[in-house]
Symmetry: D2
Subunit: 326 residues, 4 copies
Amino acid sequence: MKLKYSVFLGNVGHCFDRYCPEYSKPFTLGELFDRAATIEKLDAVDLVMDLNMLEKREEIKTHLARTGLKVGSLAVDTFANPLYKKGSLSSTEPDVRDRALKDAKTVIDFAVELGCKIVTLWPGQDGYDYIFAADYIVERQLFQDGVEELCRYNPDVIITLEYKIKEPRTHSYISTVGSTLLMIEKIGLPNCGIALDYGHAALGYETAAEAVAMCKMYGDRLKHIHINDNYRLWDDDMIVGTVHTLEYLEFFYWLKRTGFNGYLVIDQFPYREDGRDAVAESAEWLDVLQDAANRIDDAEAEQILAKRDGVAASKFMRKILFGGNK
Amino acid sequence: MKLKYSVFLGNVGHCFDRYCPEYSKPFTLGELFDRAATIEKLDAVDLVMDLNMLEKREEIKTHLARTGLKVGSLAVDTFANPLYKKGSLSSTEPDVRDRALKDAKTVIDFAVELGCKIVTLWPGQDGYDYIFAADYIVERQLFQDGVEELCRYNPDVIITLEYKIKEPRTHSYISTVGSTLLMIEKIGLPNCGIALDYGHAALGYETAAEAVAMCKMYGDRLKHIHINDNYRLWDDDMIVGTVHTLEYLEFFYWLKRTGFNGYLVIDQFPYREDGRDAVAESAEWLDVLQDAANRIDDAEAEQILAKRDGVAASKFMRKILFGGNK
Amino acid sequence: MKLKYSVFLGNVGHCFDRYCPEYSKPFTLGELFDRAATIEKLDAVDLVMDLNMLEKREEIKTHLARTGLKVGSLAVDTFANPLYKKGSLSSTEPDVRDRALKDAKTVIDFAVELGCKIVTLWPGQDGYDYIFAADYIVERQLFQDGVEELCRYNPDVIITLEYKIKEPRTHSYISTVGSTLLMIEKIGLPNCGIALDYGHAALGYETAAEAVAMCKMYGDRLKHIHINDNYRLWDDDMIVGTVHTLEYLEFFYWLKRTGFNGYLVIDQFPYREDGRDAVAESAEWLDVLQDAANRIDDAEAEQILAKRDGVAASKFMRKILFGGNK
Amino acid sequence: MKLKYSVFLGNVGHCFDRYCPEYSKPFTLGELFDRAATIEKLDAVDLVMDLNMLEKREEIKTHLARTGLKVGSLAVDTFANPLYKKGSLSSTEPDVRDRALKDAKTVIDFAVELGCKIVTLWPGQDGYDYIFAADYIVERQLFQDGVEELCRYNPDVIITLEYKIKEPRTHSYISTVGSTLLMIEKIGLPNCGIALDYGHAALGYETAAEAVAMCKMYGDRLKHIHINDNYRLWDDDMIVGTVHTLEYLEFFYWLKRTGFNGYLVIDQFPYREDGRDAVAESAEWLDVLQDAANRIDDAEAEQILAKRDGVAASKFMRKILFGGNK
């Protein structure tokens, strides 16, 4: 197994947070493509199709052509546009929800135009901050119905749902692998899948490998992967591999085991680092981590897993990481 | 709405933890019933049917008869018996899993004998501690199949699954409201439900009221409630109401809204307190919290929820709690 | 006890976060003052003296005069200016650190000009994100020496340190009440104090009342309070009182008990709410929470605390909140 | 640097938790020593001197002599004896506090008899569970005074304080590295130090290497180390190295950098594993992790740390762990 890498184009650029409006100078769209293109290990870019990007569809095609970068997925912007600040597909305001559906369909159409099969929906604003401030049933149903409508809009495009337990809302509707798979089960369409963000899984106290297994078990729904690292209590969006080691190895082992063959999309916020270099670093880590996972002997791993024993697992991990036969 | 209260019988007794084997002296079964019976607000007891209790079935009936206490639910012991230390229904050891099924069926039969409709399954040992120590798909499927077998064993008894994100294992299979509802959906039987533990919901960063709403939405699956309090980062199992206030009010409001009419089972670990008095305290809190929730005007609440606005929600909560019209 | 309220001026305005650059339209400085002035319960404003504000010192004085608002404290900007993205007083880059000292001294001078006795230092960027990326001893010492230099610069102005365990860095140097009091102890000057942010305490798993007690015990160092609410796992900066209830009551009780008489500064991020209304809500909550804490009978509280018993504490809290004699 | 290993003797035996009173059969004292002695990499044992052990002082000496194991430290039992369930040195009950002082002095005397220089105090029960249930100032002062009395009792024995943010109490007084160093600073005696538990640091969102640095900076107070692993949100007490990798490397690098030369004491709860094998595994991990940390070139590390850059740190960590020159 050697998975291909993509990156959210903006990651090679600059960042802001709720205190500092600009950690470094912004780049033009062309410069972002140029910077991404210097990272040889990248095969593709993922694009957040916000209002600005929707207007630059022709320019995007030009940059893709000249750099040779493919598109891993297009993401619908339901989080940066303040119109959706209280929700997009879950909104009880018909105008807002209709606009979200319209935006998403425009992105689906553009995906077809680019030959891209995956559209990502990260409903960051679909949730709530305060209690007594939402009808949880009505809003969840609206969201589910909206996703179903998008799946039916073009059965050839896979709509992937990216769950996250919180942020920017204090509570998200699409929060865990379980609740997301349940919604997909209820929608019951083949082109509805999951975009698993490694950091979101860690934030929700999920073992990423178990989340991969659940996606396999309940309909083979894993279609796209976002990758980054964090300290488990917040979506720190750090360079891959700078915090976790063994859990990545188990994650890649289960991706191989379950036959995942989509993209690994680098998705990080290098506030204080050079964005391009931080992405290049993640690609290097992905190489060495995948290599290490690939060196795992499948038959041996099967035996170890079947033992359900902490000591056996520990010895195995030590061997994978540091070699030796003890 | 005025829900009835039960208590895990052992709660009026003594506790131990991983450091201290005995915080205070143990009580006999008869003494525990006597202590529970002194708390007027209790309607029933919930019983963990461990090996010892299974042998005392006749004695239990006598104590129930003499105290007039009902049975809220019987819980299968899949967590205190060291046989299940690496899992019960999810165990890949056929002997262990068969025994777990047999134990559960014995408990189901005894429930029928007692006229109790609910059997609780808290699969505390069904999970894993270390990575690379479980085949997540095989074990989850075994668990799901086991639950299905129990549901089919007696369609008149409701099997309620109590989820918890961790402890005693570092990771549980039945972890969140979403993944549990998903499993119930796949089992697809009417007598499979959820036993929602308020503290477990809080521990998993769930809003308890939203969990109630999800149970309603996906098959009306909420059948039993465990109640206690904690600081949100661990299952502290404290006296109800000593940490959270407003979230309980929203929780009770949604219980009313969704028509829940089962038991509120006090389930706490009063390590350093007098167990009986700590349970009596929780019952007092449940009264005042339910009363406060009942004072909520339904029409007004509908309007507030529909606003999806933090300021409106804040004013409403302030009014519920402290009165006034501002 | 009835403490006076201030607010961070920007709180009545608009917000952004790392996804959405503008949740609503920005306001001019004059409009912000106008909006704050409509909230009768406010006595003062706290001002973040960023580069823009430093240039508007005369305008600020005009707005203060016309609105009658006092100044609770001036905060040095060591977090919004990207110059300090890798640290201000802890920076190993002499130019950056010197500039931070210079900025702070300018703010101290302006405080004197305004008759304000408190300057707040929230060293949000002084910390680290990645391991192997800091000499923890060198940087902490530089920070400590910098604070000492500022305290010596004008002994009539109190420098208050606002600790926070993380964000915007994944790890802050000034992280907990203990490590901050330790640093203050080593500096050993009377005009070095703590600005306690209620939400930061909660985020760091501190009991705010215990933090108040520690500040009293170790030199009477509590000089300023920031107030907001959160779900304990992130600095959600919500409207005061919308999450916690009893812990606020204990907090206010200990403020009274230890004789605190500084400002309660509302410090929140109302991303999706009207900023002015969200601040007004917090002021209303502060009134009712302080009133409830003031109704606590001191002698009775002493007795309860001395019992060190969960049941007694529970009864007492129930009584404070819901009345009754049980 | 090659640090020596000790283990809490009970770790090679059996465990219980708050649900299961006995995960496997218990061992006699002699059997525990036998089992520890089979682990060649162990140099010593640490002993919790509970009532039972205090009576077996002669037997302990015999076992030490016959196995050749040294004593890393003696720990005072202030957590398993239910007498201390509401606190030991912080207790406001004079009888309880006096007894705790007496127990500790007995342990200090026995340490001298064994030629052991370190006595560990883990005040697990010194804290509180409920709010409004403690006078935080009085109890903290009592604890501090008690520690001072023990330090003065025998200036040749080092009293090490082991902090932990919670458990078994929901809140501990000796909670973080900062608050513990502050207390030591106030006590002001040379034989008062810190026993740093790696897992406790992780649980409190401390970077263990930074905690080491702070101990160095504020009086060179690090005297003893407990080691185990966890998922950062609870003191899971797992086999060393099964969760964290890079943070251990930074930790060992800083131990070398600050000249620590005490024991690494394996301190874990192998509920479901064979205790002896789980300890042996930790010793193997400690070898490979220390070896990897020792391969770090000091001059290069200095340069990297001075850069304060995530990308440089990432490259460096990748090189340490996987080699290569990129």
